[in-house]
Amino acid sequence: MARAQELNPSELAHEYLRQKKKFPHVWCAGCGIGTIMGAVIRAIADRKLDRDRVVMVSGIGCSSRMPIYVDFNTLHTTHGRAIAFATGVKAARPELEVIVVTGDGDAAAIGGNHLIHACRRNINLTVVCINNNIYGMTGGQASPTTPYGKFATTARYGNFERPFDLCALTEAAGAAYVARGTVFYARPLEKLIADAIAKKGFAFVEVISQCPTYYGRFNELRTPVEMLYWQRDNTVNVKAAAKLKPEEREGKILTGVLADRDYPEFTELYDKLIAELAAKEGK
């Protein structure tokens, strides 16, 4: 670990990769997931987590391929169910650091119920939700976060469903920590993820990412660079936003720490119950 601290950010990421035969990875050129993987790894290194005790859990989709490449205990589960699997891992062994990597379709559509109940339960998990506004792996279908009026292979006339604001959703459902970052601001993202890991309780980090292959191509964002600039130009940090006039904030997506609250954590409460029952038994 001491060695890891001396490395520059890209070398550091290599320290935590399964290098033996897992590359090249599946992600398209210009995809944001690789950048986010780097941020997750640097956050784990920053928190000085023992890699033997890190469990990375994912569901199905492009983002959910991340566990393949990282040298932790890794669990690539069924579509939408990553948080439910992670809940079992964490409840059984609270000493493990459990990080869920998921996407907008995985977490908010098929897995939406697991997401809100994990928030409510306030179990000490870190969920990194990579939101690229589309189903990438199946070829560009509309997702629960595809913006109104945007195009996808199943929204050829424009999407007329409203998108979920995943941070508002998780905050309302009771998550202890809610933050939003972007691929463009990769280093601040790293800090958000590190803080999410440090947070005792359910922590949710939405990352605005880019899918140039499908979302960009269907929605007149022709290059990955154009999509990254879109992230820069359409987001504003929540602290900076407080100083802006309402007309200046109009249409901007808030980033940074959106909720940070202390609620009793599930595994701590449970361990307390076990200790109390044992003490009663001993009497």
């Binding site: 035969k21 469990v55 669990l75 589960t77 439910a84 079992g88 409840a91 059984a92 493990l96």
Partner: protein, 377 residues
């Protein structure tokens, strides 16, 4: 001797056999299991979670099991339907866990408080793709206790999910039982190699490759994708073939260790009644009645429904004039009996789908119809 309910016996057997994690969702007629586990597990340092649905319940069990903890869930037909997704995941990733499906009438919501034995084929083929299956079916409260312990041990030994499928009558019935003083407990084999040599899906020819718990330094990958011996997804035909054959091998190569059936009077039997669950109780009573009247009847209690005891049925088919299969469904396991009998004897399906149990008289009538009075010699 204690008066105990079937579901209670299942819960206490699970605790005695080392289950320390239970995640479930309320559903009649299995709910007593979740209720008992919620009280008893924390007393033993274990964890109980009431999840948001049955999909999450089995997911949480698989996650817990991957950390080395024995895990169980319980449900009934509609919940078992929801569990099929992650049941397939557990087969594919070879993660031990036990699913109790207290069978009620279906399809869909069916008769929630009524008994049935209609999930026998779902227990075998409910999840998509080729997979092995171990399903045990108790026919008494004592069976509930011993077969639960057996299901847990088989799950650990063969590194796969196992199913216990009592019908609602068995789950809710109360009987006097004398529980065994000692329960055999099979603990999970730890890897005998250092992490750098560890392949979680290696083909060792044994019952199963040891499963390292998360957190012990092995840092392996588990996926529902068809995988190579290291656990990583593969699309190489030879590796896909190996992955699937390795799964299927468990219940083929080791079927003699897995299958537990009990039988009576097969030596001289002209007619054999093959049954399971509460229907086996009726069959046993019917056999005694018919024999008292001079009919040469035999009885098989299929305590292991899956894998199916093909060899025994094939042998019986050589000598018996008929095999009667009473089931509280439209005729599910009778298909396996027909396959095993291979046309060598008449196979008679006795069914009941009205939410009421098969009674001994129904079986006695079938026996007297097919057997010769006075023994036929």
């Amino acid at each position: 001797m204690v008066l105990m309910q079937g579901n209670e016996a299942i819960a206490y057997a699970a605790l005695d056999a080392g289950v320390r994690f239970f995640a479930g969702y309320p559903i009649t007629p299995s709910t007593e299991l979740a209720e008992i586990m919620s009280v008893e597990l924390p007393k033993r340092g274990g964890k109980f979670l009431q999840m948001e649905d049955e999909i999450a319940s089995l997911a949480a069990c698989i996650g817990a099991s991957l950390t080395g903890v024995k895990a169980m869930t319980a449900t009934s037909g509609p919940g078992f339907s929801l569990m099929q997704e992650n049941l397939g995941y557990a087969y594919m990733t070879e993660v031990p866990c036990v699913i109790v499906n207290v069978m009620r009438g279906g399809p869909s919501t069916g008769v929630p408080t009524g008994p049935a034995q209609a999930d026998v084929m779902q227990a075998r083929w409910g999840t998509h793709g080729d997979h092995p299956a171990i399903a045990l079916c108790p026919s008494s409260v004592l069976d509930c206790y011993s077969l639960t312990a057996r299901a847990i041990n088989l799950a650990e030994k063969y590194r796969m999910p196992t199913l216990l499928i009592p019908d609602e009558i068995i789950g809710h019935m109360r009987e006097d039982v004398t529980l065994p003083e000692h329960v055999e407990v099979v603990d999970r084999e730890p890897p005998h190699v250092p992490p750098e040599w560890y392949y979680p899906y290696d083909d060792t020819g044994c019952e199963a490759t040891p499963l390292a718990p998360f957190g012990a330094g092995f840092r392996f990958h588990a996926t529902g994708l068809t995988h190579d011996r290291a656990g990583f997804a593969t699309s190489v035909p030879a590796e896909i073939d190996r992955c699937i054959r390795n799964l299927m091998r468990k219940t083929i190569k080791f079927r003699r260790d897995i299958i537990l059936v009990e039988h009576e009077h097969l030596q001289d039997a002209e007619v054999v009644v093959a049954a399971y669950g509460i229907s086996a109780r009726a069959a046993q009573a019917a056999t005694a009645t018919a024999r008292a009247r001079g009919y040469r009847v035999g009885f098989i209690n299929l305590k292991t429904v899956w894998p199916f005891c093909f060899k025994l049925i094939a042998k019986v088919a050589e000598t018996a004039h008929a095999i009667i299969v009473p089931e509280m469904n439209f005729g599910q396991l009778v298909r396996e009996v027909e396959r095993a009998a291979c046309g060598k004897t008449e196979v008679v399906s006795l069914t009941r789908v009205d939410g009421e149990p098969i009674v001994p008289r129904q079986i006695v009538d079938a026996v007297t119809h097919h057997a010769t009075p006075g023994g036929g010699s």
